[in-house]
């Protein structure tokens, strides 16, 4: 299996090098291809990547291997008829489920109408809100499976098929996103990462007998925002469903409960750093409502070493969860090595999640990344604690072109 993956990587890599052969800067490095009106050609960009990773210990639910994939991403964007067209797609062989996969990450057109309104229609990645790996008002789909097995951070955001209309006015800007068909997260459901199933009351691996029932309705998200004198204010609204199955149908099948969220955020400089705060009210319609609130602060602690801290709470009538996070980042003098430690700790659930990572950029083409996904717990039924059997390490090597 591993051999097959590496053979594929070699093939993909050779293709990528061929594709980027014209990108040599040795000759006429100052005069060639500035991307002027005259020399615009269709530019395909992307990367080839090989990733390998494994669990620390044999899990009763899964094999040791957590990730083994050669991946090719190709992207292209072009402005034509005052419309920016973007396409970006990934193809990879997944050594975990031993299958080929493809995903279109972007396929959209972006254009401006009435001077003040930007429209982006098609498949796109959507993000807003102020949290760092904590999402209160950002209910766009996320791919937690990719996040937990060590794929690039880019894959934490899953694409949406949506219409985004952003209008800019003097006093406020309005962002409207309509997703005709509900997009759930790529949530943890056992086939790759084991989790605690509250229905059976135990940790669960792949269990095909569990059928998740997906809603077929649309989703709306709205954001009103303004930057006034360096202070960023925003108010948010969402109408749709919980992004992972947190409800059950009458037949006790897990499903996605109705959800309406209203929230707000502020982000500004504060002393030598940045402070952000965000709140959201989660109205669950068929279940108990709760509040989420976040305060964050980030500062360069010393040259090229930055610390970020967040305090977060989810508070309902019956349940409370608190989370503290810290992100420590150091980069070297040449800006090619980045070391980072992101830690989630829940003081009231006694669990947590550590994400140490490194990214090393060898040159404009080659880079290396690696890291750990480490969960810890007191009991297996807590938010991070349920994933402890999936602790893993990974390495990725990428050739970008």
């Amino acid at each position: 299996m591993i051999y097959r993956a590496f053979f594929l990587f070699t093939v993909l890599f050779t293709l990528a090098q061929a594709a980027s052969a014209q990108d040599s800067w040795d000759d006429e490095q100052w005069d060639s291809d500035w991307g002027t009106e005259q020399d615009q050609s269709i530019n395909v960009y992307g990367f080839v990547e090989a990733a390998i990773g494994g669990r620390f210990e044999s899990s009763p639910y899964h094999k040791r291997l957590s990730i083994a994939e050669p991946r090719l991403q190709l992207g292209f964007d072009e402005r034509w008829q005052d419309i920016t067209w973007t396409a970006k797609a990934d193809g990879w062989y997944d050594g975990f489920d031993e299958t080929w996969h493809g995903q279109i990450r972007e396929l959209n057109a972006q254009f401006t109408v009435f001077d003040n309104t930007d429209i982006k229609v098609g498949r796109q990645v959507l993000t807003w809100g102020t949290g760092d790996y904590l999402f209160l008002n950002d209910l766009f789909p996320k791919d937690w499976q990719s996040f937990f097995v060590g794929r690039d951070q880019e894959y934490l955001k899953a694409p949406s098929d949506a219409l985004r209309v952003t209008s800019y006015f003097d006093w406020i800007n309005i962002d409207l996103v309509w997703t005709p068909e509900f997009d759930h997260d790529n949530y943890i459901r056992g086939e790759r990462i084991s989790y605690f199933n509250p229905l059976s009351g135990q940790l669960t691996g792949d269990d095909p007998s569990i059928q998740f029932v997906e809603p077929t309705r649309d989703e709306f998200a709205v954001r009103l925002f303004r930057n006034y004198d360096g202070v960023e204010y925003a108010a948010y609204g969402y109408d749709g469903f919980t992004k992972s199955p947190e409800a059950v149908t009458e037949n006790f099948q897990p499903t996605f409960g109705r959800l309406t969220v209203v929230g707000a955020s502020v982000r500004m400089t504060f002393g030598p750093g940045l402070v952000n705060t965000e709140v959201a009210n989660y109205n669950r319609h068929d279940a108990a409502d709760h509040w989420r609130a976040l305060v964050g602060y980030e500062q360069e602690l010393w040259t090229r070493f930055t610390g970020g801290f967040q305090a977060y709470i989810e508070k309902g009538d019956t349940q409370t969860r608190t989370v503290l996070t810290t992100r420590l980042t150091w980069r070297d003098e040449r800006d090619d090595l980045n070391l980072s430690l992101f830690a989630f700790v829940s003081p009231n659930q006694n669990d947590g999640y550590l994400r140490p990572t490194f990214d090393y950029r060898i040159d404009d083409h080659w880079s290396f990344s690696g890291g750990f996904n480490l969960f810890f717990r007191e009991t297996p039924n807590t938010f991070f604690g349920q994933f402890t059997e999936n602790n893993n390490a990974y390495l990725r090597m990428r050739y970008a072109f």
Partner: protein, 266 residues
Amino acid sequence: MKASFLTAVSAALLIISGQAIGAEKSARDIVEQAELNAYYSGDDGRSAARMIITDNQGRQQMRQFTILRKDQQDGGVQDMMIFFSRPADVRDTVFRVVKQVNDDDDRWLYLPDLDLVKRISAGDKRTSFVGSHFFYEDVSGRNTDLDNYELVSESEDSYVLKGTPKDPGNVEFSYYEVIIDKEHMLPIESTFYNESGEAYRKMEVLKVETVQGYPTVTHSRMSDLTNGGQTEMQFRFMKYNIGLPDSIFSERSLRNPPAEWLQLRD
């Protein structure tokens, strides 16, 4: 009427004093004039830039980006956006800066793969700009209030000034020498010295062109004199006073770069 008369008189006085300065011109006046010429030409501007970074083993990397700039006032607050096009891993990344004078800059970075507008906390400005030998501060301009200046020497065509930091704890140099060319009133060489008085870092201007009447550095080099390695930077397609609206400098342009202002043509 009265106002315009006064303006005419003060303009005349400026011209007279400008010619009379010679040796009396203070070091600070020279530096401030050079700062305006180097970083504040026109009311706004657009330029494409390319950097070739060579490490001490001769390995090369490249950065390419387009800069849009607008001055709120000369020598004061400045809006800037930097749109990266190369290499592949930073393609379509956009950097937005509101350069402040007596406060930390406001900075944002747009990461297109995540559609993330990331606000960046104030950082040490004397660290590598996108992996090059230039510092962030070399690109955006070092606040002249941070240093004391003295005129070391003056020749027919240039001034040599010594800059000493008012707060030495904040910077890695103990002083620097800058040569300002009289013809264009632009810094054409800066050498930075460490505590033992050794030169370890040097900026040289390799080419100055006059664009719409503004002398503009179009090719420069920053060298690491201790470890070896250098970055050369060239500017092309410079245009001044293009009438950039304030609204360009906003979150909107991070997500949807203003194509009409980024079109490169001479």
